[in-house]
């Protein structure tokens, strides 16, 4: 279903992995697809992360926005998302939602051979105090910090306010 994206993720993964060695984080090259990956050597005992389906619905104002993505772990060990930062926002926090109430969480697990899903109505990234109001067609840079895999940078595309990933519009 997402073959081209997977290929892009692999490529981005190579970039990210090499950049990680220098300690400055990788930048996912697949800006429009919002894909990227950070991984270890690929052996079963390490987490192997990739990001897909990243998007930000165009927010009402520059004071607050939500972001969604899916983190997939192909590796045989779990990892943990420990924090998220963005040069485009004063603050990024991670929230779970349940029954209309959202709760800030400090760490979320990415299970071995599993996924951590951020989607509307569920987990979301919350961006506070954005430098500019994100508008459709632009991207927002997001840095995901993991306990084991280090940093992963995603260029998150800004989609229409009513974007539904299930229908793609």
């Amino acid at each position: 279903m997402r073959r081209p994206a997977a290929a892009a993720a692999l490529l981005a993964g190579a970039v990210a992995a090499s950049a990680l060695l220098t300690g400055c984080g990788g930048t996912a090259s697949g800006a429009t697809s919002g894909s990227g990956s950070a991984s270890g050597s690929g052996s079963g005992g390490k987490p192997e992360l990739s990001v897909s389906g990243a998007y930000m619905p165009q927010p009402v104002s520059d004071s607050m926005a939500a972001g969604f993505l899916v983190i997939t772990n192909k590796g045989g060990a779990k990892d943990e998302l420990t924090s998220v930062t963005s040069p485009d926002a004063g603050d990024v926090t991670v929230h779970e939602t349940a029954g209309g109430a959202m709760r800030e969480v400090s760490r979320l697990a990415v299970p071995a051979h599993g996924r951590l899903v951020f989607r509307s109505g569920g987990n979301h990234l919350m961006f506070d105090r954005l430098a500019h109001k994100p508008v459709q067609g632009r991207t927002v840079t997001v840095k995901l910090h993991f306990a084991a895999s280090g940093d992963l940078t995603v260029e998150m595309p800004v989609k229409p306010a009513t974007y539904n990933p299930a229908t793609g519009h």
Partner: protein, 217 residues
């Protein structure tokens, strides 16, 4: 339209939540909500067998004036939602879904429709803040703020549970939004439809022309 099995499961879960949320109301075991055959295939919207009376609610609008919900929306197709502007995900999505669907209506019907956003976070959502936020979505939408207890009672009267804003352990304010939009019929002024959080632009686009006429979608 939504073929993914996980989406169907989520909708089922949402429907279950709706039922349990209403079951815990003050109607003494009487089933308030039952899902019609129509909505069983299309779970974003639930037709209520026993419509809710429109809340007797007088609050402050975005211009700082008094707004009497029953008086102002009498005989009008009306959508009522309880949310807050410091809400990154569901509140703006819900309002934007309605705004996009509304634009598909003929102009005359757009003018008939009343979309009322009642804040669940009145301390932060002043008339000016609400006005600014709603203007970014649809300038015809009505925003109401006022005493939280009054708002909570009104929400409860239509089967919607909200809680006051609290501070979390980091000192950040956490607010709660309602999980449904209630549609009121222009014919009866009764709240006869529930739209869940999963309701999409398409669901509202299909539903609004019916709501304008007080019909079931």
């Amino acid at each position: 339209m939504r073929k993914k099995t996980f989406a169907a499961a989520a909708l089922l879960a949402a429907a279950t939540l709706t039922l349990s949320a209403c079951g815990s109301g003050d109607d003494g075991g009487k089933p308030v909500v039952s899902v019609s055959e129509d909505s069983a295939q299309h779970r974003a919207v639930t037709v209520l067998d026993q419509p809710f009376e429109k809340p007797d609610l007088v609050l402050t609008d975005t211009h700082g004036g008094k707004y009497d919900l029953r008086k102002e929306t009498a005989g009008r197709p009306t959508l009522l939602y309880f949310g807050y502007t410091h809400c990154p995900d569901i509140c703006p999505l819900t309002m934007n879904n309605i705004a996009v669907a509304k634009k598909a209506l003929p102009k005359a019907d757009q003018d008939k429709l009343r979309v009322v956003f009642v804040t669940t976070d009145p301390a932060r959502d002043t008339p000016a803040e609400l006005g600014k936020w709603l203007k970014g979505i649809d300038p015809q939408f009505i925003g109401l703020t006022g005493d939280f207890a009054t708002i909570q009672a009104a929400a409860r009267s239509v089967g919607i549970s909200i809680e006051p804003t609290t501070k979390d352990k980091n000192g950040k304010l956490v607010s709660v939004h309602g999980t449904q939009v209630v549609a009121f019929s222009p014919k009866t002024d009764g709240g006869y439809l529930f739209y869940g959080e999963d309701a999409s632009v398409d669901d509202y686009t299909k539903g609004l022309p019916k709501i304008i006429k007080g019909q079931n979608p």
